[in-house]
Symmetry: C2
Subunit: 175 residues, 2 copies
């Protein structure tokens, strides 16, 4: 949506987009809604590669996610809107529907592929399956975000391999 996000101000966004500031307020209710939509578009770039094994697929999406989080506009916008959502219930719901629930597709696709390959068993109970999906999503997304933005250390291939091994081993052994 934007390239530079040097600062996260509506005036800058309007200038960069080549429109007037008032136009932004005619299309979005406020800064929060605009940023959520922008972040959601960025996250839609993510795709699950089909590399032949569960571990390779997970490692691939982890590195994709890390690359997305390295872009200054992504991490700043994402964290700003999450921080704001701790005080705004409506915004929290908007994040859930526009970002979280949308990207769970990656977990669903990955698990289906792993099941088709025989790497993971089928889960007949739909509620247990949904809980499992949520758990995996929070673990993967949370770990990458925490590593990149809180610990502030690089999500490189070595880390991705270690992480993927830990998770996939746990998944295979608990199932």
């Amino acid at each position: 949506m934007d390239l530079g996000w040097s600062k996260l101000t509506m005036g800058d966004v309007a200038t960069r987009a080549g429109v007037a500031k008032t136009t932004l307020y005619r299309r979005w209710a406020g800064k929060n809604e605009l940023v959520v939509d922008a972040v959601a578009v960025l996250f839609d770039e993510l795709e699950l590669p089909d590399l032949g094994s569960l571990m390779a697929d997970v490692e691939g999406v982890v590195l994709q996610f890390a690359a997305l989080l390295e872009r200054p506009e992504t991490k700043t916008a994402l964290m700003a809107v999450v921080a704001e959502s701790t005080r705004d219930d409506a915004l929290r719901g908007r994040i859930r529907s526009a970002i979280v629930d949308r990207q769970k597709r990656l977990v669903l696709v990955g698990r289906e592929r792993a099941q088709a390959r025989g790497e993971l068993p089928y889960e007949p109970d739909p509620t247990a399956s949904a809980r499992h999906t949520d758990l995996i999503f929070d673990v993967v997304a949370g770990a990458v975000v925490h590593r990149a933005l809180v610990s502030a250390e690089p999500v490189d291939e070595a880390w991705a391999r270690d992480f993927t091994l830990l998770i996939c081993t746990g998944l295979a052994a608990t199932a």
Copy 2:
């Protein structure tokens, strides 16, 4: 430090603390530094319970961390300062030393206990050991934060049990 954090403004903080706003600026360089110190104090409350098994210890600290994140002042302050750190290198370093590195003690203690119990093997290589510590810390802290603040779903005992099982199984199997 404060109780209500209805809003995260220096004026409110000063009023609530019973001091003048200028006094805060005489003690801290700015809002960010103050909030980091406040959050660091809150995180120092965490302790690793000694419940007799690795899984029980992990589950206990996960629930403690979740309880900490449920307090409005904690989650708002933590995410606000993390968001700001995406644009401020000095602040990022301050978070690392005051919060991240400090709380890694929980991982170190937990692993030592598990090794003493024979649940986990000893790791002779110190760099590999440090990498492992960082990985576990990011996975546990990241997953809990993501579940609580991004997915915005409760970190209850059922989730803590599922998560702990996944992680501890992976830890035991990969080691």
